[in-house]
């Protein structure tokens, strides 16, 4: 029976021991994809969903119609946020290995997406992130130490000890709470955007999920409701080629781009070089303008690569070539923006090194402060009875009884 199987099984281009192979990636040179007006009907701009918007060329110059012409200052700020994210990630990864935090997820290789988008949006726009958008917090000004306290579930943990590390939220900063359940935030963002429209504000909702997560039903609901009500929302598929061990072909990326799901619903779809800070910024501005002008949603696919392990529980050398990332044709987003700034004479290796040193120091100092508020195992600790709060706004009788039981249990010890 098996030998006769006619089932098509998507091919994973390279496994451990193989040569990295990115020939499947449909690329195009920087500057080549036209930039339509942000009010163009979705039906007329389908090429955006199968092309690739790129601004930075191989010589690190910004070229073509999507060039956003940002101030060098802004680019430097962007570089800083990206570097902070990377330094933070590296440090937290090492700390997890040492056992001080239970779990961590890096966004290495994908920093341009959150940083450029965060900067291109307004602070009043509402973010419904996935677990790899930590950089949004830095863009919107949340101190590093606050995130660390969440990772430590300590006395200053914004989640009050309830959530796994990296599941931050920030009401004031308009960043929604993260669910462990993939993709659920996507249609919620659409609902938020629908409410913005109903209320008559011009706020935009933005959400992100991974290539793998786009397989979930919520992805479909998001596109459908966004299309029906023309919600002012920007929906992002961060195609980093992998979902844990599974290649993006298993999420439906083999025969069609993820951005192309948009035109299938009459929604604008844009495929962008996710490692190109300028391109991501430009596409975001375009989509946000479109949304604010009442021209409806945009689905953006960011082509990028998950350079790190899926999480601290994962070992990618079991399922992909060790040197895969080094061969990724779209390079590294930090390196590319850095080289662009150098090329503009607005940056240098020295300033870069100094910035890294500064950020490392800042992160180290923040960590020191964070642990002073307690860790999972040592120091001050949140009251465990906090778990009974916020199940409901007011604690009902049965939870009060259980809280009392726990109190008795703890006192006995």
């Amino acid at each position: 029976m098996v030998s006769k199987s006619r089932l098509h099984v998507p091919k994973t281009p390279a496994r451990p021991g193989d040569q990295p192979d990115f020939s499947y990636l449909r690329l195009s040179p920087a500057g080549k994809t036209p930039r339509p007006d942000s009010t163009a009907p979705a039906s007329e701009i389908r090429y955006l969903s199968e092309g690739l918007v790129r601004v930075l060329d191989d010589a690190h110059q910004a070229v073509g119609p999507w060039h956003p012409h940002l101030d060098a200052k802004d680019l430097q700020v962007g570089l800083r946020h990206m570097l902070l994210t990377r330094v933070f990630d590296d440090r937290m990864q090492r700390i997890q290995r040492s056992g001080k935090i239970s779990f961590y997820m890096r966004s290495m290789g994908e920093e341009a997406i959150s940083v450029a988008m965060g900067m291109a949006l307004r602070p009043t726009d509402m973010a419904f992130p996935s677990y790899r958008n930590q950089a949004l917090y830095f863009v919107r000004g949340r101190p590093v130490v606050d995130l660390m306290c969440q990772l430590l579930s300590n006395t200053r943990d914004m989640c009050k000890g309830r959530q796994l590390p990296v599941m931050y939220q920030w009401r004031e900063g308009r960043i929604f709470s993260i669910s462990g359940n993939l993709a659920t935030q996507f249609p919620q963002a659409v609902g938020w955007a629908m409410a913005a429209a109903i209320k008559g504000t011009d706020d935009v909702a933005v959400s992100w999920l991974g290539d793998g997560s786009s397989a979930e039903a919520d992805f479909h609901h998001a596109l459908l409701f966004a299309s029906v009500y023309q919600a002012p929302v920007i929906l992002n598929v961060v195609n980093n080629q992998w979902a844990i061990s599974t290649f993006q072909g298993f999420a439906g990326g083999e025969h069609q781009t993820f951005a192309a799901r948009g035109p299938g619903f009459g929604i604008a779809g844009v495929r962008v070089d996710g490692n190109d800070f300028l391109a991501v910024h430009a596409v975001t501005q375009w989509a946000a303008e479109r949304a604010r002008l009442g021209r409806g949603p945009t689905l953006i696919e960011h082509v990028t690569y998950r350079a790190a392990a899926h999480s601290t529980s994962d070992d990618p050398s079991r399922y992909r070539p060790k040197d895969d990332y080094e061969r990724f044709p779209l390079g590294d987003p930090v390196e590319r923006l850095k080289q662009h700034l150098i090329r503009l004479n607005e940056w240098s290796e020295e300033r870069h090194a100094a910035l890294i040193a500064e950020l490392e120091e800042h992160v180290a100092a923040s960590w020191k402060e964070a642990v002073s508020y307690g860790t999972l195992s040592d120091g001050p600790r949140l009251d465990p009875r906090l778990m009974f709060e916020d199940v409901f706004k007011d604690m009902p009788a049965h939870l009060a009884r259980q809280e009392a039981e726990l109190r008795a249990e703890l006192e006995q010890k």
Binding site: C159, R162, S177, Q188, W192, I198, L224, F225, V391, K393
Partner: protein
């Protein structure tokens, strides 16, 4: 006092709240122009416009998900799921999201969504238009679960639910939309206008979530029940000439344990009645709780009367339905035990 059936009472609750609170929106399949397949939202879109009473795609998961997003953005969506049997596509958004957002976000975010949905059988609906899935929600911490048994409570509880800052799953026993039903399908239909709970004020009033009601005072035994079964239980007890106390649970979560256990402690005998399938149904929680708290008062085992553990069969609806005969058997057994 105006007379309303349950449909009119629910409609009135939404009308009152749409009028009072500009953040209230109604959404669901066929609820807008058409006014809902059970007519509960009739006239509301005409009155409040299609931006506050929204027809939606047929995607229960999408309805609840977008309602959550709206609620996070300050609205108070009341989402209709056309039949409780069709709530499962929304189960992940309800269990993993709606119920959890306040807790997981350290209280920073919340989503005050009401999910209304008609439940229960007895309308020849077959296995996919007759279910009573309340137990599947009562086990989920972070959502309130409500099921009224009459128009007065329906309106008052729905207003409370819409005003509540927590999410509420609001079950509407459709067999009693138009009138109380004592379990005998061969008797002529009785309208709510003949029932004291069919008197429903026009304006705003509330019935508290979390409080059971003594539907009938009595001393010989306690029947704990809700929804359609309140009426069937009353008829069964009357038929036997028993002085039964009947507790209408009204709210599964939070459960009014005091009222329930207080009654059983007094009567010493208890029968639990619901229409949902028996195994692992909400009756199990009621029985377990009562047994824990009233053990020393009990003079007989607590019995459960419920739907059989099978899908609701089209042709055998009345053999499936836990009608007066089945309830009466249990009442007798509990009275005779010694």
């Amino acid at each position: 006092m105006p007379q309303m059936n349950m449909i009119q009472a629910l409609n009135s609750a939404m009308d009152v709240m749409l009028g009072r609170d500009p953040s209230v929106v109604i959404m669901g399949e066929d609820v807008g122009y058409f006014g809902g397949v059970f007519r509960c939202t009739e006239g509301l879109q005409r009155k409040y416009g299609e931006h506050r009473v929204l027809d939606t795609p047929i995607a229960e998961g999408g309805i609840v998900a977008t309602a959550i997003g709206m609620a996070v953005n300050g609205l108070r969506p009341v989402a209709e799921i056309q039949f409780a049997d069709y709530i499962y596509p929304a189960y992940d958004q309800i269990v993993s999201e709606l119920a959890r957002i306040r807790h997981r976000s350290g209280g920073e975010f919340s989503a005050p969504v009401v999910v209304r949905t008609p439940c229960g059988g007895g309308i020849r609906g077959g296995q996919t238009h007759s279910q009573s899935p309340e137990a599947l929600f009562a086990h989920i911490c972070g959502i309130k679960v409500v099921m009224p048994s009459n128009p007065y409570d329906a309106k008052g509880l729905l207003i409370t639910a819409i005003e509540d800052d927590d999410p509420v799953i609001f079950f509407e026993p459709k067999r009693i939309y138009n009138g109380p039903f004592d379990g005998d399908p061969h008797k002529p239909a009785v309208p709510w206008s003949t029932h004291p709970k069919g008197e429903v004020p026009d304006g705003h009033y509330t019935v508290p979530i979390g409080k059971a009601e003594v539907a009938r005072q009595g001393s010989e035994l306690t029947i704990v029940t809700y929804g359609t079964m309140v009426h069937v239980s009353e008829a069964a007890a009357r038929g036997l000439g028993l002085d039964a106390e009947i507790i209408d649970v009204r709210t599964m979560v939070p459960l009014d344990t005091d009222a329930i256990c207080g009654s059983v402690a007094r009567t010493g005998r208890c029968v639990i009645v619901h229409e949902a399938t028996r195994f692992g149904g909400f009756g199990a929680e009621l029985s377990a709780t009562i047994q824990e708290q009233c053990f020393w008062n009990l003079q007989a085992p607590i019995l459960r009367v419920a739907g059989w553990d099978t899908p609701y069969p089209h042709a055998f609806e009345w053999e499936y339905f836990p009608g007066q005969a089945r309830v009466a058997r249990a009442l007798k057994a509990v009275m005779e035990a010694a």
